[in-house]
Symmetry: C2
Subunit: 208 residues, 2 copies
DNA sequence: GTTTAAATTAAACGCTTGTTTAAATTTGTT
DNA sequence: AACAAATTTAAACAAGCGTTTAATTTAAAC
């Protein structure tokens, strides 16, 4: 799939991604972006029209292939619980290696200010939920999963756990002695992912 | 406990809380606050020194009594699982009725920009974690809770689930048909709280 | 009622913001 | 080489920013 953006645009988008993630949309100025990207301030307006539309472009640029990944997972020949585990791993991996944009989505698209641009993002979330539903209902039919779980609340538990951990990065770095970026990333890939998988598995299977 | 802020300051703090929560710290101007609070722009500098210190004051103003509530819970005569359930209820209730400040904490204190002011907030989090640890270790000694859970990751699951739900409010309002503010709040108080309690209980008790 | 301190105001400060303009430069096409 | 289109530039724009100033009003103390 070819991108709709040229090299120059992509350069700007990736600088903007880093800065937006670091300092927020409002906390980042176009001059700031221009300086880091070593371009003239006018280039952002020239290529994207406005700062707001730069943000929109960034989201399109980064979220366009998640749906495919999920569809592929759905069609794999796996037990429901393994599909769930893979889905969790996919989510964490993907968000973790695209931290910038997801942090931006998390931050900017929850305030009332930007509800208009919310449409495309909302559709993405609805699709993701549908995929999760399909897997869980499959497990329920097989009698493996309990039936009194509230499916739409499982995504908040998966993503919320990750985000809350990551949003409090300095705190957990200190608490868990994750002195280097590698140690931190490794902790997410192993311990945090396992914790979330363990949590969701227990929730889906445990009978009180 | 008497507050260190006079009536006028509290008035300003509460307006700032609403606006910061709505539009972020950078997205809110002092003139904005002044207009809503019907005061002169200079009053913020007069009473708080600067915009940054207004934020600090706001956090002190809102988080000063959480520690006491937790200590009281610890000393109640309850089974560990009931303490956990009560702790979850306490968290959700408290955060839900102080949405503004927690949204601000969630948003503003995760960026590297404000790591200096992070100290007091970090101490608060460490204290909360200690309380949770005490309860869980009690349950483990009694043989009720499994011992291979990663305790510091439980808070992210509790709070993360709530936050992720609440940060995607428009999405879930639409998905779950929560047309009024009452319906939304009620859903949090009942279904969401129950989901989190059910999740943590399963995680703590389920044996694979 | 006068004096002193606190609270409030309007105005201005210098600086940064997002965006536009119009000129200069580079690139591609014939 | 000459032309046209696309790109890049520096400069300017009006508007908003956080903060300070100095004058004025209000409140408290005597």
């Amino acid at each position: 799939m070819k991108s709709n953006f040229n090299d120059k645009q992509i350069e700007i988008l990736e600088v903007a991604e880093v800065l937006f993630a670091e300092k927020g949309f409002d906390g980042t100025s176009i001059r700031n972006i221009a300086k880091v990207a070593k371009i003239n301030v006018a280039m952002v307006s020239y290529y994207f029209g406005s700062k707001e539309r730069l943000l929109e472009s960034l989201i399109v640029y980064r979220t366009s292939d998640l749906k495919n990944q999920l569809d592929n997972l759905l069609q794999e020949d796996l037990e429901p619980i393994d599909k769930i585990n893979k889905l969790i791993e996919l989510y964490i991996n993907r968000i973790n290696s695209n931290r910038g944009i997801y942090r931006i989505l998390h931050f900017e698209f929850t305030s009332k200010k930007r509800e208009q641009n919310l449409q495309a993002f909302s559709e993405l979330k609805k699709g993701n939920l549908k995929s999760l539903e399909t897997i869980i209902e499959e497990g329920q039919k097989k009698g493996i999963f309990r039936k009194d779980v509230i499916i739409p609340l499982i995504t908040p538990t998966i993503l919320g756990t990750f985000f809350h951990f990551h949003m409090n990065k300095p705190f957990f770095e200190n608490l868990l002695n994750l002195k280097t970026e590698d140690l931190y990333n490794n902790y997410i890939k192993t311990n945090l992912t396992k914790h979330i998988q363990q949590t969701i598995k227990a929730l889906l299977i445990y009978e009180s």
